[in-house]
Assembly symmetry: C2
Homo-oligomer: 176 residues x 2
């Protein structure tokens, strides 16, 4: 068994690594897996009942989808720094009140991808600075409507689903 880690492929946002993993009962096995850069996601809250999402063309689906502002955490950046930067770049919004909602992993195997979701309150609109390939529309939506879109499949990506469902739970329990 080869003893070193091998980088099979690497690009800006993820790499494919091959590595020996210790399993239970003293065994080990060599696996290749995807290691993605960690991600920060933001739910910008307008008030108790309303928030912003963005409508953005996503090439892997060949269509626009509705989702929360999000992006990869750069080297040397913290999760909250990336959340603030991405919110400003994608929407022009700046918030003075930040709170971490949850951290989670995308999967238990094959893909290692860590996601932090933040709530942003006390919003102020400034100028957005989308990247060249981004074509982003800011969408005001009620939490009630957002939950309905999760249940109907119109909001379909995990970070936004988890953020909306948790926000809905906190809201109903009046902890917001």
């Amino acid at each position: 068994m080869k003893k070193t880690n091998t980088i099979i492929y690497s690009q800006k946002f993820f790499k494919v690594e091959e590595k020996n993993f210790s399993l239970t009962h003293g065994r080990s096995k060599r696996y290749s897996f995807v290691h993605r850069k960690p991600i920060s996601v933001v739910l910008p809250l307008i008030d108790k009942n309303n928030l912003y999402l963005i409508s953005q063309y996503r090439y892997i689906f060949s269509k626009r989808i509705l989702e929360a502002p999000a992006g990869h955490i750069d080297e040397g950046e913290t999760a909250i720094d990336a959340a603030k930067r991405e919110l400003k770049e994608e929407t022009g919004l700046v918030a003075s009140n930040w709170k971490k909602l949850i951290e989670y992993d995308t999967s238990g195997s094959v893909i290692k991808s860590h996601v932090s979701i933040f709530l942003a309150k006390n919003l102020e609109k400034q100028e957005s600075l989308p990247e060249e390939h981004e074509d982003i529309k800011l969408v005001k939506i009620s939490l009630k409507n957002a939950v309905e879109k999760v249940l109907s499949g119109q909001i379909s990506t995990a970070p936004t689903i988890i953020g909306i469902l948790l926000l809905d739970k906190i809201y109903r329990e009046e902890k917001i």
Copy 2:
């Protein structure tokens, strides 16, 4: 710009593809991205208040985690077939009442990975058939406790988080 798709890397559960994507405004761009085999996830419900999860050693975290039974959908298999197969293999449980809870995508970019979550009811315990590398313990847990573990970060992977939060929402609204 190269016009063909290129498979950069491929293994049993995912491939890395490079491909020209049409963007908005008639532009196009070449991206590499991860395409994972689709996944089925199962929440086996004991009764209105209790379900089973599994405790399993996950090499990418170097520890056991608590999660819902799940696995990749094989070629020629439907999502519900894979859900039934994985539930039986991992837990020995067979269910006579199945319902799809939600389908979602892991991410809006970089990684294409589709997940279907099912509710399994009317459970019967038979013999489990875990794969060679699997070391699985069946864990009975109340929905209330599972929700608490999501909120505290002890349940930390997206498929199980989404399943538990949705189940909790349905339960509270008495649609279960």
